[in-house]
Assembly symmetry: C2
């Protein structure tokens, strides 16, 4: 199992640095033996954590070699001291690795507004670097989680012009998962050789279908970060927009990212179900998205799923609440294949009662207004969500 | 107590018609002995319940004499049959009262998408009308509630040009409470003589500060209805925009509606606290409103309040998530009088820990960008919300 998540040229390690107060691994490092092409997407929150601000500046150059990540503390809303801590976190890492400081990216996740225990991180860098290993990705994944119930690692292999390349992604999620990513971190590594423009467009495209198409509680974090590194050591013929060898790679990348995104929702705080909300037949793509998210974020819809109750009235009511114009007579609602609302009239939910017991449920809303579609993954809202979030801080 | 909520010229009654399956009163009637000036505000959901569609048409004439209301069934998403049921509900009422059918308004609240048990309503009209009484407002308030823990009645008396006038409001709320009103019904009665233009503007103004400034779960209902009837029997000098006698009346009306709105939030499904979110110093009023609602609807913020945890990071993160531009360094956050975030840096929440145990808590966000303000009332998010909403349907 560990073998299978090796990505040529990449090393990883995750250790317990005491940031979480002894509750497991909390400091992870990803290192590419050679500088890699780098792209990232970040939270759009006005309050961006210090490491996000640092990374957004550095990643513009399109190159990076290491990512240092801590969990247990977000280093967000920590003022100038927080910026200095993020820089220190980078500096101690670059020194220990013997690389240029500008090639280090930093990520943090955890409690907002508390000073990062930078000494704990500084004193853990040597053992962290010392333990770097090609088999280390699972421990990296462990070191970045907060309230996640399980670490998330996905990988795919594919062929690019006859050469095998690997894509491995790790992620943490749990709460605050929303459009534009909310508290999630994800790091995607590949040994493929791919030009910067193509890497950028493929990564954004896949992020749109994965991390930007999920929601747990509609909250957007200060720390959301997804970074992809491509180190080119596979020696494949360069993938570019025009090279004709990107189909398989695009599919594999999208497979990794969509799987990670789904497992983030499945592991959403307190989630007992993975629910896909598909909106078809919208006039505008933005309309489809607005309605899909309105349904996916409705506490009334989410508690109905937790209660395994096909309360379709809440679904159509959420769809109607967005201000997007549509004809209520032509809207159709299905849960899996069971029609629940057709021609302006509801149909008894009794047929759907069995379906509601499933772990994975697909909700389909057809607006009948056009051809645009959007699909979002969400979770139900349970008692455990309340427990986790009422008690997380103190 | 009953005496004190009499409004001259108005009668009321609420009885159990069996719509809720024997769980208490579920059919209410408000009757004015003379036709009254009437104004209303209604849900903006695309899916409007049949009674809402009926009322929106009728209330354009600005006059009404009776409001027939059932709880236990929303008569929403019920197609043409639902429209017919709403009309029938009006017709049996107007016949029993011996008034023009066009003077009857109809409201329903409860489960969406199930056929209204119109026979139960029809056969209950005679006893309902027979029991009409000047002391009946508390029973009207009982008959309109669903998951509410208590009926909501508020009244004020004031003087208009030397004549005493009374304003009495009743409401039901509980879940789905959001801007533009969500599942709430409210009926305001006054014996004041007030011209239509002035009634319209005062009612809209008060609705903006009350029913449109609260949220429980961010969900908007198909049935939201607030109607005000003014029957003029007090014989005061006509209140108009220019009459100079509206100050006291405006204040009393606003007092009734804001009190009802607060008690709806206090009684929000599972609510243990009433939280006021005040946003000051916005550039645009819309900015203040967007940020206030983002905080008020954040599940992470709401669970933190349930946990009595001054997790201010979640509050500023919600403020930052709206896309409204502001300087994160100039934003200030206070809970009651305790500063928690100033000059871009968080302050330990320990001082605020005691405050978080209060039942009524005020959160103040100062943006430092301008002079616009918005204030919204919200509740916390508790286990009881989940129980109520996971189990409501079946």
């Amino acid at each position: 199992m560990h073998d299978s998540v090796q990505v040529p040229g990449f090393l990883g390690n995750g250790i317990a640095a005491g940031i979480k107060g002894g509750r497991g691994k909390d400091l992870s490092l990803i290192f590419s033996k050679v500088p890699a092409r780098a792209v990232g997407v970040f939270t759009t929150n006005r309050f961006k954590a210090a490491p996000v601000i640092l990374d957004m500046k550095r990643i513009k150059k399109g190159i990076a070699q290491a990512i240092i990540v801590n969990s247990g503390n977000a280093n967000a809303a920590t003022g100038k001291g927080g910026d200095e801590d993020a820089s220190t976190m980078s500096r101690v890492t670059s020194r220990a690795l013997g690389i240029e400081d500008e090639l280090v990216l930093v990520a943090s996740t955890g409690i907002i507004g508390e000073k990062l225990p930078i000494e704990k991180i500084a004193r853990s860098i040597e053992p962290l670097v010392g333990g770097l290993s090609a088999d280390g990705m699972p421990s990296v994944a462990e070191g970045i989680i907060t309230t996640d119930r399980f670490p998330k690692v996905e990988y795919r292999k594919c062929f690019v012009g006859g050469k095998e390349v690997t894509i491995c992604g790790i992620a943490k999620g749990a709460g605050m998962i929303e459009p534009n990513m909310a508290t999630m971190l994800s790091f995607i590594m590949t040994d493929a050789d791919i030009d910067y423009a193509c890497l950028t467009s493929l990564f954004k495209e896949s992020a749109g279908k994965s991390f930007n198409a999920i929601t747990v509680d509609g909250c957007m974090s200060t720390n959301d970060t997804a970074i992809m590194l491509a180190n080119g050591v596979a020696g494949n013929s360069l993938i570019s927009e025009t090279s004709g060898n990107l189909v398989e790679f695009r599919e594999a990348l999208s497979g990794v990212m969509v799987s990670l995104a789904k497992s983030i929702v499945k592991d959403g705080e307190g989630a007992t179900k993975l629910i896909e909300i598909v909106v078809e037949g919208a006039k505008l793509a933005a309309d489809a998205k607005a309605i899909a998210y309105a349904i996916a974020n409705s506490n009334l819809v989410k508690t109905a799923f937790f209660g395994e109750d096909p309360n379709w009235g809440r679904i159509i009511s959420a769809a109607g609440s967005t201000g997007v114009p549509f004809s209520t007579d032509s809207l159709e609602l299905y849960i899996e294949d069971v029609p629940l609302f057709i021609n302006g009239v509801g149909i008894s939910g009794k047929q759907a009662a069995g379906i509601m017991k499933k772990d994975n449920i697909r909700v389909l809303v057809r607006l009948g207004m056009g051809k645009e579609t959007f699909s979002v993954y969400t979770s139900d809202l349970s008692h455990e969500y309340i427990d986790i979030n009422a008690l997380y801080h103190s």
